[in-house]
């Protein structure tokens, strides 16, 4: 979609035969408040859609996202298992543009001037804003593991930004010999999708058990405990007995060095593991542009106001999703989508005077552990004085009957279809 400018429009009116009828629209278009959203993931795309849709065109919404499509990191483990295609977890921005009038700049944000309220793009274009939404997701701390950088990720994929990396890991698993060793190295806290590496362990085991049953998985963890631990370990025991070894941080499980030529992984405890496939997920921080815009604190993440997800550092800027410090809320697609709705409401309130309601947040994370078995964890949250606080929470139980687990598995699929429609349709 091209941008509506007075010059562009006057140049085309004769051809279109619209005549002067369009003139008031042009004037209105130019005076509309502007929202710029950086990042087209679960957080950014939801804000863009909700602001554009619910303001009924009264707010001009620009989405800055270089990619034409978005492959969700959530559900990418099901692709690794061979259960889903990559296409089935890849979504387009076409509805946001055509149904709601969002202007999609397929460009990279390279700078933000929060004083002058302008975003600069790689192409040199400048986008002024009344409200800026920064939702860049995560970046990796490549300096943390010796030998692991962007180039090494082509041999030992992190597959923690979905798309090419996920396809690479899947191809390596398919090419691996039966009897090989898969190393999975989860990151230290905080990181995107806390149960993600352990769901991945379960689903790679699911694939290996069916196709390469002599293979093994070694999980080299810097942590001593992890999300839904009892549920995952119970599933590993029941479905994949003898296939999965988990080395916690206290037993020297942290990966300190990799050698992509030798395909070896060196652990803090001194062990050197020869891997057939190595999935190294490095420590994380907020996406690059958040640092560039000066929105991060010493932790490498962005402090926010719990009632609105507004930046605590810069005025008229919101940070949400994985890049934000949402205290008890995990970094998840569900959480990002939930935060986005509070941000969209706050933006409409600030720019149009629409009604404002108290912030409410929610998260649910489903994790599949076997063909007909999934578990879930979730919580409701509210804005406390200084941070987002838990109101209520739940988690699946270890001794649930199989029909409950099968129902949870079906529920996860239904959720995925709904949330991706909520974001992209």
């Amino acid at each position: 979609m091209t941008r509506l400018t007075r010059r562009g429009l006057l140049g085309t009116t004769a051809v279109l035969g619209v005549g002067l009828m369009a003139a008031p629209h042009v004037l209105r278009a130019q005076s509309r408040p502007k929202v710029v959203v950086i990042g087209g993931g679960a957080a950014g795309a939801t804000v863009a859609k909700y602001v554009a849709r619910d303001s009924k065109g009264a707010i001009e919404v620009a989405l800055v996202e270089p990619k034409e499509t978005y492959t969700t990191c959530f559900y990418s483990n099901l692709y690794l298992a061979g259960w889903r295609t990559l296409e089935s977890i890849t979504h387009r921005y076409v509805n946001l543009v055509q149904k709601y009038g969002v202007v999609h700049y397929r460009d990279m944000a390279v700078d933000v001037d929060t004083g002058k309220k302008v975003v600069r793009l790689a192409s040199g274009r400048e986008l002024p804003y009344d409200k800026l939404v920064v939702a860049p997701g995560i970046d990796f701390r490549y300096e943390a593991i010796e030998g692991y950088d962007e180039a090494a990720a082509m041999d030992m994929p992190h597959a923690y930004q979905a798309g090419e990396q996920t396809a690479l890991l899947r191809a390596q698993l398919e090419a691996m010999e039966d009897g090989g060793t898969v190393v999975i190295a989860p990151p230290p806290n905080p990181y995107r999708c806390p149960p993600g590496p352990y769901e991945r362990t379960s689903l790679i085991a699911n694939y290996l058990k069916k196709h390469k049953p002599k293979s093994k998985i070694v999980v080299c963890d810097p942590k001593d405990k992890f999300s839904k631990q009892a549920l995952f370990q119970d599933a590993w025991q029941r479905y994949y007995e003898g296939m999965i070894e988990w080395i916690p941080g206290e037993l020297g499980g942290r990966v300190v060095k990799v050698d992509t030529k030798e395909m070896t992984v060196t652990l803090e405890g001194g062990d050197v593991i020869k891997a057939s496939v190595a999935n190294i997920i490095p420590p994380q921080k907020a996406g690059w542009i958040a640092h560039r815009a000066g929105l991060t604190d010493d932790s490498g993440w962005c402090p926010i106001d719990p009632d609105s997800m507004a930046s605590r550092v810069a005025r008229d800027v919101y940070v949400l999703g994985d890049a934000s410090i949402a205290s008890k809320m995990p970094k998840s697609g569900f959480a990002a989508n939930s935060q986005a709705k509070v941000v969209a409401m706050d933006i409409r309130h600030q720019l149009l005077g629409d009604r404002r309601f108290p912030a409410r947040y929610r998260n649910t994370c489903w994790s599949s552990v076997a063909d007909d078995d999934a578990v879930k964890v979730g919580a409701s949250y509210k804005a406390g004085e200084t941070m987002i606080e838990v109101v209520d929470k739940f988690i699946s139980k270890v001794d649930e009957p199989p029909e409950v687990r099968a129902q949870t598995r079906a529920e996860a699929d239904a959720w995925y279809e709904s949330i991706t429609q909520d974001i992209f349709a």
Partner: protein, 109 residues
């Protein structure tokens, strides 16, 4: 129609309309619309083959009763129990009012 049947029919009709009206009169659809944003993360906008139903399709009284039953723990599903425990009567009625409006817009009865 006998007199008793007529009275029964009138009563049943009144109760039905009272129940429908209750959800609409007391709830604030604008508040319900905001609250419904929590629902759309899981509930689809239209009928699908999935196990999660579109909410506008549920009759108002059923919708209200179901949320209250989840809230009390009488109905099972930990996700919905946690959702419902975060909702007061005002929130449940506002959601019901919003979904009733949505049903009308979609041409349902």
């Amino acid at each position: 129609m006998t007199r008793a049947r007529a009275i029964t029919a009138v009563l049943a009709g009144s109760i039905f309309w009272w129940m429908v009206a209750e959800g609409r009169a007391e709830g604030d659809p604008a508040y319900g619309e905001y609250l419904a944003n929590e629902c759309t993360a899981c509930h689809p906008p239209d009928v699908t083959d999935g196990v999660i139903p579109p909410l506008w399709l549920l009759p108002t009284d059923y919708f209200i009763d179901a949320l209250r039953a989840y809230r009390s723990g009488e109905r099972e599903n930990p996700v919905m129990q946690a959702v419902a425990r975060a909702l007061g009567d005002e929130e449940i009625e506002s959601l019901a009012a919003y979904f009733a409006d949505l049903r009308e817009q979609k041409g349902g009865s």
